[in-house]
Symmetry: C2
Subunit: 229 residues, 2 copies
């Protein structure tokens, strides 16, 4: 498998694209390719990271455990997303846990490489800033959604988000298959409530299911529901 960063297509999606040829070579030399099986954790909440993880393939959920033991999935990371960047930059322990949703390959890039480049290449720093600024905006949007939309609306949005981000297969089912529990942990509800709403959506012809798989049948209808009709 080709593992030189210089020829890695994934890099185009993240802040590493601001690196010079030489810097990229350094990253490439210091990185370690790892494969992670579905369900395995890449790092735990509260862990001190020695570097960041660049997702090459597969999808990871970044989640946080609350006091009462419930998991909340804050975001999904796939192709090109760099995980652990926040912790490494702030020099803090992670506040999220990363677990593979399906089989993954990730590149571990040591902390020093990142920090050195940040301190010497303003372009890279600004590029990272832009990404983080975007994430921050997204986070604020999620906060408002959590506070002002119903569980139904949030779940509808989740389906559309998955379709947009990961696409659907030839039969119209979402490429990324999540468990009902994972859906519940994304929209912030109990799995029973989540399951009930899925049944209701199915009855209304908004979605279709086949085992764990979910497909969007009536995108317009879902959009109306999200808008509050």
């Amino acid at each position: 498998m080709e593992t030189r960063c210089e020829s890695c297509i994934v890099r185009q999606y993240n802040s590493l694209r601001a690196l010079s040829k030489d810097e990229l070579k350094e990253v490439s030399n210091s990185k370690v390719l790892k494969s992670v099986k579905k369900g395995e954790s890449i790092f735990e909440e509260g862990e001190k990271l020695d570097g960041v993880y660049c997702v090459r393939d597969g999808v990871s959920k970044l989640s946080k455990l609350s006091a009462n033991g419930k998991e909340h999935i804050v975001k999904l990371a796939s192709n090109g997303v760099i995980m652990g960047q926040r912790s490494v930059i702030a020099d803090e322990t992670t506040h999220l846990r990363a677990v593979a949703i399906n089989d993954m390959t990730v590149c571990f890039i040591p902390k020093n490489t990142i920090i050195n480049t940040l301190n010497t290449n303003p372009n890279f720093a600004v590029e990272v800033l832009r990404h983080m600024a975007h994430d921050l905006k997204e986070a604020d949007n999620v906060i408002v959604n959590m506070s002002q939309k119903t569980v139904k609306q949030r779940l509808g949005e989740a389906f559309l988000y998955l379709k947009k981000s990961y696409g659907e297969d030839k039969d119209g089912f979402l490429n990324l298959t999540l468990s009902r529990d994972e859906y519940a942990n994304i929209v912030g509800t109990a799995s029973e409530s989540c399951i009930r709403i899925i049944s209701e959506f199915k009855k209304k012809g908004l979605i279709k299911t086949a085992g764990k798989k979910i497909g969007i049948s009536d995108e317009k209808g879902l959009l109306d529901l999200i808008a509050g009709f």
Copy 2:
């Protein structure tokens, strides 16, 4: 009034402290001091900013309007907080609206000054990154709180947060006085629910009120409530 950034104490709290003497002088020369009356807006949601606002005095609420017309207060900005940074860096319109909660003085720093410094001084860029990394972590925590804590718990947290951030007067009332409606918009609930919970807290001896003013009477009790007892 002293308006040189070089001698502004507020600067110590934000990323401007990473600037060199010369850079600071440039910021100082390009900035404009503005005073904002309680209730006035500093910028609106969706506006394109020509610069950032550094809060010198007073408190501003940063909020977002949802589709159904409800306001959600995402964060409060006081002493030393730089508002609009995210939008300027990402070169996007603002996603939040900033309104003065009490009389304020803010310094407007033009976009160019910020961008130039970002591109030439990696220390500054990294410092901004650290701040943004911190904000992002906070935002993630809020998301999990919104999804897993009750309105009562969130309101209790809000009171403690205000005490910690802005202190209390000699009679034990919070220095920063918010309306019931503003509290509701922070914790993400209806103002009626908010008022009801305030009454309940008062009955239980957790807090005391005097008109709009609110004071914490039993911090331990509030903490227990937040923890779920």
